[in-house]
Amino acid sequence: MTARLKWTLLIVISVVALGATALIGFFAWQAAQARNTSPSAVDTTAAPVTGDRIVFRNTATGEGYGHIASVPLDNPGAPRSLMDVTCDRVAATNDELACLRTVRGIAPSFVALVLDPSGTEKASWPLAGIPSRTRISADGTLVATTSFVTGHSYATIGFSTETVIRGADGSDHGNLEDFTLTIDGAPFTAVDRNFWGITFADDTTFYATASSGGRMWLVRGDITTRTLTSVAEGVECPSLSPEGTRIAFKHTVSGSGPTVHWQPAVLDLTTGDVTLLPETRNVDDQIEWLDDSTILYGMPRDGVPGDTDVWSLAADGSAAPQVFLEHAWSPSVVRGS
């Protein structure tokens, strides 16, 4: 092959490769613009929803993708009321919203926001990594957040989570890593402990997951004494039922690391009985209680990257899962009163 031919071929290859990339980029940009400005794939309404409702992240394509949305609790198929606020995770009470967001940029950053129902910012603070879970205490005074601290994904360090509790005004109630941890009655000081998935019982008591050396515990936390005490083992990402006697969680059925398979389950706090629920797919979400007999959780939609549905399942395992809310993620049940 002559030098001239080699150069010609290289130029052709480069132009084709970079040109194709530019084209893909252009169409992706155009599609993104079109999606953002095209009407939503679901019916929406400007009127705010009050009373009992579900607040969630809208994942329907079109205008309002990624925005906070709400629908009446008794009619989830009704047109969605969209807010002009985007979030990766959302939690809500009647008077406020907790919103975790990824801020795009040359160095992406992550932020937690507390908003009033109209979307006005009341407080905000930076997060250490990618948003994972958020919850608000029933009286609205406390906000819990969990984020994944990831650096370079090829780093050999596994993962690290940061779970903090803040007041709704942004005041710092501490990182769970700084709480005193007691496992099976003995102080536990291993340095590789990780915490995630807070669920509040009231404005001093909460439950969360503690892990160390591949084991996981359900812990009960106390904000005033800054203590965490193990309650049960193998209970991950807890969610306390409205009546406060049961914990819905992700039960590891098989595998670990990338091959892990989680099945939703319910732990009775008084008897210690665990009921596995009839869901065969892998559930990777912090469960939300619709009411005392039904749980909700998000699932990725098959073959549609970036889209998800919220499913419902009987908490006693008596019925198969069914779609509760299409094109939705991070559901939060709000009792308006």
Binding site: M1, K6, L9, L10, I13, S14, A17, L18, A20, T21, I24, G25, A28, W29, A32, D88, T102, R104, G105, I106, A107, P108, S109, P126, A128, G129, I130, P131, S132, F148, V149, T150, G151, H152, S153, Y154, A155, T156, I157, G158, F159, S160, A190, V191, D192, S212, G213, S256, G257, P258, V260, D284, G298, M299, P300, G303, P305, G306, T308, W329
Partner: protein, 436 residues
């Protein structure tokens, strides 16, 4: 840096150097060249550009992978670190095999081509991978490709460089390589800034850069062979001798690199210590790696030249003082911005003083027939011992805590640097081949 566009070192460059190799400046009469400048062959530059493009390709993807997994696939990233150990092990084995294959077949270019090609093909998979399993497979294929290509490529760099400027050659190559590693993440985040869900565009760009890199390798890098079949058809082919790699000075290099590798716990832990204490480090966490790379690329050529002048073994061993400094700074309760930046500088300098220099050292201490295997063996020892170090440090971290375990490793490293310097004494300041 003077760059020659010949693929063979010019006669005066290859001329016998004087003691300690500082005398290849016997330039032609009339040609006055500043002290310290050496030639770097066009093949080294070309291989550097190939590596640069390949690094843009792989680092752009790895930078956004956590966001992609959580944002698009809707999974938590908890699982991600686990696969790392697996592919590190596979990659180490593949590396030795590829080095050996390159020596035995005498086709270093085409073995390297297979490695680069495999990584490029893996990028096609990215465009179609939709689940975590597929993604894992793609990344594993990419890392295997990396394992295959490294040793034959470094042996090509050696074959097209003057023995006296080997360190500088590797320095030039690693500089270009790390320019790519620094550009990759920035390019990816920039695309995401323009196109909110532009992951597909990033994957396409990654594939494009990989293809161009492979094309440049295929078209413009000569398959520098030891045996010139046309010129000397009857020349007896020298035998491949494992003894060169496993005995004599190379054995000391492998042992020394292994000992130091066992105390190299990985940037990830250093960043985590910084992040746990410093708001600055936490905010810029995704870019700490880029910062280290920038320092690495800025120092690679000076460190390579220094190695050519004062001895590759010496620079390799004492380069670990940079690592030591990074450990100490990370553990000391200093002001956050200063300690973060200092850590990046020390880590970058450490990589600059050890990465290319180790390849140059292994090349210096092996014969042309065993070079690929020798370089691969040294790099594998480093990779495996660092993997052991990372898991061992995990345990230490578990029992002692962040800062204390940093101090323990730093203390051990002081001892190790001295011990390895003694172990390397026969060739510590040598810049010439000891193999005849």
């Amino acid at each position: 840096m003077y760059i020659s566009f010949n693929n063979k070192p010019s006669p005066d460059e290859a001329a016998e150097p004087g003691d300690n190799g500082s005398a290849d400046l016997a330039a032609e009469p009339g040609v006055k060249r500043p002290r310290g400048l050496r030639t770097v062959s066009s093949t080294v530059i070309t291989l550097g550009i190939v590596s640069m493009l390949t690094d843009i390709s792989s680092e752009s993807v790895s930078a956004i992978l956590p966001l992609y997994i959580t944002g698009v696939l809707g999974l938590s990233t908890i699982a991600f670190g686990v696969i790392d150990g697996l592919y590190q092990g596979v990659s180490a084995f593949v590396r030795i095999a590829a080095g050996y294959a390159s020596d035995r077949s005498d086709q270093p270019k085409w073995i390297a081509f297979i490695g680069y090609g495999l990584s490029a093909i893996a990028r096609v998979g990215l465009l179609f991978a939709t689940g975590f399993g597929a993604l894992t497979a793609v990344i594993t294929a990419d890392r295997i490709g990396k394992g295959i290509r490294t040793a034959p490529r470094d042996s090509l760099i050696t074959a097209t460089s003057s023995p006296d400027s080997l360190g500088a050659s590797f320095g030039v190559h690693r500089t270009l390589d790390n320019i790519g590693a620094a550009i990759g993440p920035l390019l990816a985040f920039f695309i995401l800034l323009l196109i909110p869900d532009g992951y597909e565009t990033i994957f396409a760009a990654s594939l494009a850069f990989a293809i161009i890199g492979v094309a440049i390798l295929g078209f413009f890098v000569p398959n520098t062979r030891r045996v010139d079949a046309a010129a000397a058809p009857k020349a007896p082919r020298k035998k491949f001798a494992w003894g060169i790699v496993l005995r004599g000075p190379m054995r000391r290099v492998l042992a020394g690199a292994g000992i130091l590798g066992l105390l190299t716990i990985g940037d990830g832990f250093v960043y985590l210590v910084l992040q746990s204490r410093s708001d600055f480090a936490a905010q810029w966490f995704p870019l700490l790696y880029v910062g280290t790379n920038v320092v690495f690329l800025a120092c690679a050529i000076p460190m390579g030249r220094l190695a050519d002048r004062v001895g590759r073994a010496r620079v390799f061993v004492f380069g670990h003082v940079g690592l030591l400094a990074a450990y100490v700074v990370a553990a000391l309760p200093l002001a956050d911005i200063a300690s973060t930046l200092l850590c990046l500088v020390f880590l970058g300098a450490f990589y600059a003083a050890t990465d290319g220099v180790l390849a140059a050292l292994a090349a210096q201490l092996t014969t042309p027939e065993t070079r690929g295997t020798g370089i691969a063996a040294a790099q594998t020892v480093v990779a495996v011992s660092r993997l052991v170090a990372a898991s061992g440090f995990g345990l230490l971290w578990f029992t002692l805590g962040r800062e204390q375990s940093m101090y323990v490793v730093a203390g051990l490293l002081v001892v190790a640097v001295i011990a390895v310097a003694i172990l390397f004494r026969p060739f510590l300041s040598s810049t010439r081949s000891l193999i005849t």
